[in-house]
């Protein structure tokens, strides 16, 4: 079922949690709401569910206007961050809850309910735990039961609030893949909230990046990574190093550091954002760049080695991070305290008076 969100806004007292925003979600789509805490992503999710009322705007499921519909009549599946399983009920009773509370006319017979519950438990691969109580389950198991419970009434919309937030990295990855499979198999429309960019990029058809109650950007994961449209998205989506430059005679200057402007770029002051793998590292300045840095830390992280660098003779708000392939690292053998020079290969330039970036290539 498609979801249409129009001019939804919400304030809590003085705090503007959501500024009027609109979003169009296609049937069968999986949407990730990504943002830091306080960005309004959970509020938006709860408004879609009907757990929170919006101050303005309207929401439509398919052609059904649900703006003033109570949660229980919206027929959405909702998975809570802390699972919210009913502690005094067995796993099977938890999953059966949505069916047990149906009005008598719509309620399946007890044997039918039992069959459906067992089927759902099979689907989440936890049929052997049917008679346990929630307190006897691990976090990952609880989350899968919570999902089975939400799916029991066969909702066409599934909403998940930080579904894997409290789980360890390995279980999280496994559940992510499993949820993606389930989504493709059953074809429901899902919206999930996360603050983990990796999770959002891996799981969603489209990612909605939010900050301070606004939608910053809505795009497919690939497009989002390739063309972030604001400083915020750039910062949030991946380790970018920022060079604050004053334009002067075809160069950006920052105290003793300098960087050649690529061809065809106007002379303007601004910030240059370069991702951590878009660099070339050398022992001496190059024709294009003179960016001296000191190696402060060396972290081998999986396939790459990350160098943490602090600027020498120029200013940067944060420490720079540069990822190198092991091969390149081994050839040079960098050491802590050593001075290196970096040269960006590609980046994005935000002029001081513009919100939109210009992509750069040297």
């Amino acid at each position: 079922m498609s979801i249409l969100i129009e001019h939804i806004s919400k304030t809590f007292g003085q705090f503007q949690a959501l500024s009027p925003l609109s979003l169009d979600i296609q049937e069968g789509e999986m949407i990730g709401l990504l943002g830091p805490s306080g960005s309004g992503k959970t509020t938006l999710l709860r408004i879609i569910a009907g757990l929170e009322g919006a101050d303005t705007g309207r929401i439509q499921f398919g052609d059904r206007d649900v703006t003033n519909l109570h949660v229980r009549d919206r027929r959405v599946g909702f998975v809570f961050q802390n699972y919210a399983l009913f502690r005094h009920m067995t796993v099977a009773d938890n999953v059966a809850f949505g069916l047990d509370v149906l009005p008598r006319k719509e309620r399946p017979s007890p044997s039918e309910i039992k069959k459906r519950v067992m089927h759902l438990l099979d689907m989440v691969q936890l049929a052997h735990l049917a008679n346990r109580f929630p307190s006897q389950l691990s976090g990952g198991q609880k989350q899968r039961i919570a999902l089975a419970r939400a799916l029991a009434t066969q909702p066409e919309v599934l909403l998940l609030d930080e579904p894997f937030g409290a789980l360890d990295a390995k279980v999280r990855k496994e559940l992510r893949r499993w949820l993606r499979g389930l989504h493709e198999e059953l074809g429901f429309t899902s919206v999930f909230v996360t603050h983990d960019q990796e999770e959002a990029l891996e799981l969603s058809d489209r990612v909605v990046v939010m900050s301070n109650g606004y939608i910053e950007q809505v795009d497919k994961p690939g497009d989002l990574y390739a063309s972030p449209n604001s400083r915020f998205v750039f910062d949030f989506l991946g380790n970018a190093n920022v060079f604050e430059g004053k334009a002067d005679q075809g160069k950006w200057l920052n105290q003793q550091a300098s960087l050649q402007l690529p061809k065809g770029i106007e002379q303007q002051d601004g910030q240059l954002y370069v991702r951590s793998h878009e660099f070339f590292v050398s022992d001496a300045p190059t024709e294009q760049a003179n960016l001296p840095l000191k190696v402060v830390a060396i972290n081998p992280i999986g396939a790459e080695v990350r160098l943490e660098l602090s600027p020498i003779g120029w200013q940067s708000k944060d420490i720079w991070e540069i990822d190198l392939p092991h091969k390149a690292f081994d050839q040079h053998g960098y050491e802590k305290g050593q001075t290196v020079f970096v040269t960006p290969k590609a980046g994005y330039f935000f002029a001081d008076d513009l919100a939109q970036p210009t992509p750069l290539h040297w």
Partner: protein, 286 residues
């Protein structure tokens, strides 16, 4: 360099991290002995002195047995009423924000703060046939003061805080997500209350009702002023103890008191055991 391993194993010193166990536990046990166990032993010793036959004769006296019935029934009705009303009061205090909530919250403790005799006299005055409430009620043909219903009223009044104060914290701790989960699954408000909220409150509510019941069994001050104290009709067991004391028949008083004590203890233990089982299931400790 070779490391020299000494033959004597290093014995780790098991010391508790939390300090003061022996001191605090010792003090607690001493005081429990002084103010609880010692008087209770005295009570039992005094009734043992009189011998089984006499003991049985005292506690199965017709008038005393009638008082057991009155007391038990009145305490039962009062505590069940408190179960409903106390739950409602706790619900209102926790769930809603309204003008005067804090005052109401403070007022709940009033029955504990008020000397029970004062409570009894006040209630008797209000519900007597010429009192404010009694006047209205008698025009409806209802008589409260100086009947067993007066006993129920006094018992309910003095023990309502037990229910409110045991249920209130549990209600405050209840996670709103469980209720929300119930609602997203399509449950009506009533279903959510019955299937989600109530099972979580149930142990605390039972404890509250049990405390209210045992307190009512022993209530004296508030009850005697409003009960009318007619033998076989509205005499409570505490009054029978008091009567024996006034006749300087201390062993008889102790004998009757021991019955009340046993009843209270058995009930409290039963509730404790039941609650421990229920909570163990909820929290998954086997």
């Amino acid at each position: 360099m070779a490391t020299h391993l000494s033959a004597a194993p290093i014995r780790p010193r098991h010391k508790r991290v939390l300090p003061g166990l022996s001191l605090s536990l010792g003090t607690s046990l001493l005081f429990i002995s002084l103010i609880l166990l010692l008087p209770m032993t005295g009570l039992i010793m005094q009734s043992v002195d009189m011998g089984w036959a006499r003991y049985w004769e005292v506690i199965s006296d017709e008038r005393v047995v009638a008082s057991y019935k009155v007391t038990l029934w009145a305490a039962l009705i009062a505590s069940v009423f408190n179960g409903f009303f106390g739950l409602l009061l706790a619900w209102v205090l926790v769930r809603y924000d309204f003008w005067g909530r804090r005052i109401l919250d403070a007022l709940v403790d009033l029955p504990f703060a008020l000397p029970t005799a004062v409570a009894g006299i006040t209630l008797a005055t209000l519900y007597a046939q010429n009192g404010w409430y009694g006047d209205i009620l008698s025009s409806l043909g209802l008589k409260i003061a100086y009947t067993p219903w007066g006993i129920v009223l006094a018992m309910a009044f003095t023990s309502i805080p037990f229910v409110v104060r045991t249920v209130q914290p549990v209600l405050e701790e209840l996670s709103p997500e469980e209720e929300e989960a119930g609602m997203t699954l399509g449950a009506s408000d009533w279903s959510v209350f019955r299937r989600v909220i109530f099972p979580a409150l149930w142990p605390a509510l039972m404890t509250g009702i049990a405390l209210s019941f045992t307190r009512s069994l022993g209530e004296f001050g508030a009850v005697i002023f409003i009960a009318g104290n007619m033998p076989y009709v509205s005499e409570i067991t505490s009054l029978m103890i008091f009567v024996s004391l006034q006749e300087f028949d201390f062993p008889a008083a102790s004998a009757i008191a021991s019955v009340v004590l046993m009843a209270s203890l058995i009930l409290l233990f039963a509730i404790n055991i039941w609650q421990a089982r229920y909570l163990r299931r909820l929290h998954g400790r086997n």
